[in-house]
């Protein structure tokens, strides 16, 4: 359990949010031209990092907006929160 600073609503309990998994996975521009391996990579393969991970979250019991987060998955410490479309902070 931890607090999340929603970029639209401010600090709220994590239970108000839904985790949306790894961020910055770009949807293929030409899905029809992908090989099966490339589809598997896009759909299923995940970095699943122990340490600093970039991920998507949705404030489902609040503003219902998506945003990005940088979080240390080894101790759940949130390093940064930024809006969709913004550049991820470089660390």
């Amino acid at each position: 359990m931890f607090l999340i600073n929603c970029p639209f609503c401010g600090e709220r309990e994590q239970s108000e949010f839904k985790a949306g998994g790894e961020a910055h996975i770009v949807r293929p521009k030409q899905p029809t031209e992908l090989s099966d391996d490339e589809w598997a990579e896009y759909l299923f393969m995940r970095k699943n990092i122990k340490g600093i991970q970039f991920e998507r979250w949705n404030h489902i019991h609040g503003c219902r907006k998506w945003f990005n987060m940088v979080r240390d998955t080894s101790n759940d410490e949130i390093k940064a929160v930024y809006k969709m479309g913004e550049k991820p902070p470089v660390e």
């Binding site: 359990m1 239970s15 839904k18 299923f44 393969m45 995940r46 970095k47 699943n48």
Partner: protein, 417 residues
């Protein structure tokens, strides 16, 4: 040669105040080179080593474990064993394990306290009823014992369940697998460790893997905190940390690691003599031999390796438990903990070769790996020794995420994820 555990040895050792028991396994330093190395000294890893030595005559092997054996998810699960999965591939896999469980204490000469007290899965809505009936039929077609119970039969089998139609999610029925049950989780790790050690397997604890050395299209060895170990066969059984180890070899897996929590109550006299699980309201409970209620909660939905979960997950489970078993309302919970489970998109495991020669993965067991420990070890040992999967784990390959031939067991996995 290990002394055999028996009533006679117990008596003999009692005379010397239990101070002269033989050591159950050695504590060796790693050799320079092994024929195979298993990464991860949990139940699955130790079982793999045991069957490699026993059935495939690979005795020059080691199990490396970053902590102590059985200290990860093996010691954190709720010890439920069952095989009532939906699809043929899963039925084959989990029932193979259940059959080994039935003779495991004798085989290992170690009491794993396997208790076939039955596992009941409850239905709380019409869809549950249909799903569970379908699963019962599928189980029986696969030779797995399963019966469907109506509300009265559920009440008769487990009288403390509140079957009133006036609760928020009334009990409409349930399934029962009588051969299912529980076992003592630590004893499984210790029994396999003792058995493997006796056949010459080196169990190396406090030895963390730091890197995997590649050699062309194969592997050359592992870098550990106890130095380099040469080997050209590596079996990774690292549960929640599978992706971390895969990353060392430049591989990506279809896994997400999430916290899964469990808790136990203060010990009380026998009150529930079976295991009751409910997917829909997410409550499952059994009673340990010590008398504690063993309660399984759900996973958090975010990736985390912190071995602790959110409070509201525990709260949600306890709400459901209290609605179903009002008799527990004044019990106090003693301990609560989390483990990190590696979840596959189809809630089925991976027991597979990889694109790298000599590198094998046994992972993705998610929330339900304990029940499969003996079968998983047996089939993974077969896969490593023959460089080919056994027919029972052929469907659980990594390539299914490319071919699309998934084994979707979200319904039977029983823990929401």
């Amino acid at each position: 040669m290990k002394n055999k555990y028996s009533i006679l040895s117990l008596f003999k050792n009692a005379l010397s105040y239990h101070e002269n028991w033989q050591r159950a396994w050695r504590d060796p330093e790693p050799k320079k080179e092994y024929d195979a190395v298993i990464i991860g000294g949990g139940g699955h890893g130790l079982a793999t080593a045991y069957y490699l030595a026993k059935k495939h005559d690979m005795k020059n092997i080691a199990v490396v474990e970053k902590g102590w054996i059985g200290g990860g998810n093996t010691g954190r699960n709720t010890t439920i064993i069952r095989s009532n999965y939906l699809w043929d591939a899963s039925a084959g896999l989990y029932d193979h394990a259940l059959k080994i469980w039935e003779g495991l204490s004798q085989e290992l000469n170690y009491n794993v306290m396997f208790s076939q007290r039955g596992v009941m899965n409850l239905a709380h809505n019409l869809q549950d009823v249909r799903d569970l009936k379908r699963r019962t039929h599928a189980n029986r077609l696969n030779g797995i014992d399963a019966v469907y119970l109506n509300t009265e039969q559920v009440k008769k089998f487990c009288p403390i369940i509140n079957t009133s139609p006036n609760i928020r999610y009334p009990v409409l029925g349930g399934t029962l697998q009588k051969r299912a049950g529980t076992a003592r989780h630590d004893a499984v790790a210790w029994g396999y460790a003792r058995g493997a050690d006796e056949m010459g397997v080196d169990i190396i604890q406090n030895c963390e893997v730091k890197g995997i050395k590649r050699n062309g299209d194969g592997v050359e060895g592992i870098e550990t905190t106890k130095g380099f170990i040469k080997t050209n066969k590596i079996g990774v059984v690292a549960a929640g940390h599978s992706s971390v180890v895969a990353n060392m070899a430049g591989l990506k897996l279809p896994l997400e690691s999430k916290p899964l929590q469990a808790l136990v109550s203060e010990p009380v006299k026998p009150i529930i003599d079976t295991v009751v699980m409910s997917n829909a309201v997410h409550a499952y409970v059994s009673q340990s031999d010590k008398g504690e209620l063993v309660i399984g909660a759900g996973t958090d939905d975010y990736v985390s390796y912190s071995q602790k979960g959110s409070h509201e997950i525990v709260e949600g489970t306890l709400n459901a438990i209290l609605e179903l078993y009002p008799i527990f309302s004044r019990m106090r919970m003693l301990r609560q903990w989390g483990g990190i489970v590696d979840i596959c998109p189809d809630a089925s495991p991976i027991i597979s070769k990889t694109s790298i020669k000599g590198l094998y993965f046994n992972c993705g067991w998610g929330t339900g790996g304990f029940k499969a420990t003996p079968g998983s070890g047996d089939l993974f040992a077969h896969t490593i020794a023959n460089d080919e999967p056994h027919k029972l784990n052929a469907a659980f390959n990594l390539n299914r995420f490319v071919s699309g031939d998934l084994v979707d067991e979200h319904g039977a996995a029983a823990v929401a994820h």
